[in-house]
């Protein structure tokens, strides 16, 4: 750590001299705390979801049912449902919320089962974690095996503490799924002049059209 940092600074100095600039610091590479509890949670629960979807001996209907249960163990569905509404989480009516929550759940389960299915990895390995603040941890993992030729890095944002953790977002190739979903939904509602019903109808229609 010390050595690389010194080398980097030396190289910076050389580069700076070349361009005639003045001062620059080494990038922040601070050692951050890990959270073993959060890591253990992701290792167990995320591995379970991946194992279910990679299981070749199970029918699609069985997989869907077990995936549905596994999502409850792994993810904080109410919190995510609230997050993806962005600023509209403040203005949504109780009636709209009652319709949005199941529509979003069905949509998200279908979509993410498809996404995980696209990659067909088998083994999840925790490679580390970063405590953003107590109770808000990023757990870094790689998924490999199955049809994956190079280990695929996937990060999980988990909230909680002690023995109780829940995933609220998943990062894949640098892209956070819940954050992207939020921007997608908020833009859809914005473009409908702030009418949340338009999004709810779109989600319901989209999944009905898929016939699942």
């Amino acid at each position: 750590m010390m050595n690389t940092s010194t080398t980097r600074r030396g190289a910076h100095a050389a580069l700076l001299a070349f361009f005639g600039a003045v001062a620059i610091g080494a990038p922040a590479m601070a050692q951050q705390a890990r959270d073993p509890g959060a890591e253990a949670f992701v290792q167990a629960k995320a591995q379970r979801v991946i194992s279910v979807l990679a299981n070749k001996g199970m029918s699609e209907a069985q997989k869907k049912q077990i995936f549905h249960q596994a999502v409850d163990e792994l993810a904080d569905v109410p919190r995510i449902t609230n997050f993806v509404l962005g600023k509209y989480a403040r203005t949504i009516t109780p009636d709209q919320r009652a319709r949005f929550a199941p529509a979003f759940r069905t949509y998200a389960e279908n979509v993410y089962q498809d996404r995980i299915d696209d990659y067909k990895g088998e083994v999840l390995k925790v490679t580390g974690s970063v405590v953003r603040k107590p109770g808000d941890v990023i757990v870094n993992t790689t998924i490999s095996g199955g049809q994956i030729s190079q280990p695929l890095p996937v990060a999980w944002r988990v909230l909680g503490g002690g023995q109780t953790w829940k995933v609220v977002d998943v990062q894949f190739k640098g892209v956070w799924l819940a954050i992207t979903q939020q921007q997608d939904f908020v833009s859809t509602i914005d473009n409908a002049g702030g009418n949340i019903d338009v999004l709810i109808n779109q989600l319901q229609k989209g999944q009905a059209a898929k016939g699942r």
């Binding site: 001062a23 610091g25 609230n82 600023k87 509209y88 498809d114 190739k173 992207t180 833009s187 914005d190």
Partner: protein
Amino acid sequence: MSDQDQSARRKAAGRRFFAAGLAAASGLLAFAPIAHAEEKVAGSVEANDPLEGFNRGAFKLGMGLDKVLLAPIAHGYMAVTPKPVRERVSSAVYNLGEPNTVINMVLQGKPKRAMRSTTRFIVNSTVGVLGLFDVASKMNLPRRDSDFGQTFGYYGAGPGAYIYVPLMGPLNVRDGVGRALDIATDPVGAVAGGVSTDFGKARLGVTILDVRASADPAFHALKDSSDPYVTVRSAYGQYREAFIRQATGEAEDLPDFDAPPPDASAPAATPNP
């Protein structure tokens, strides 16, 4: 705001100063405004998209052209070549980009990484049969990508305005300038021939095919999105910022999960055209 965030910000400021020097050195005066672009990170909700109306048109056109032009070719390619063969092609395309990675690692002041990428290129081009096999990865020299967009970002340049270019896909000002430099300074192009030569044409064709085939799951995923334009913009921005953080080692600035962003008082005030 934590101490760590503060210190990252200060360092970013230092690098931004340097980015101005780098930009001036490259004779890219037009690039200068980017250095002052807003410091929004991928996790934040606001997008820098002043040309949204125009971009949405370009996106629609791009997706239409993809449907009739690139998608059929890519799907044909995927139908006739098994996945292991396509992976060999991807490796070869990636290998030809390795010298450009070396240049950028040198520019970022990372001699060790530059040496590793150089070794990767030599090993994979020879033992790996023109890059078809990534032998170096098995020798504990994993892939480490880099480009000029990353180098600009490393020295503190913000992404600038978002641009969608039909058939090329999402870009921003920083990475668009970076992409142009990647092409202009590409050592492989200089040695083996640019796009005017047979080699250059073949390379471009295979690269487009490989990129489109690799992106096919993403195109597939877009069908589930309620506003595909925004999904692409958001995913691209996050992807590039994460790529730059690989170089800076900075921690990601994520939004608070439980506090919805403000400004809900007038949510419908500015519906997009």
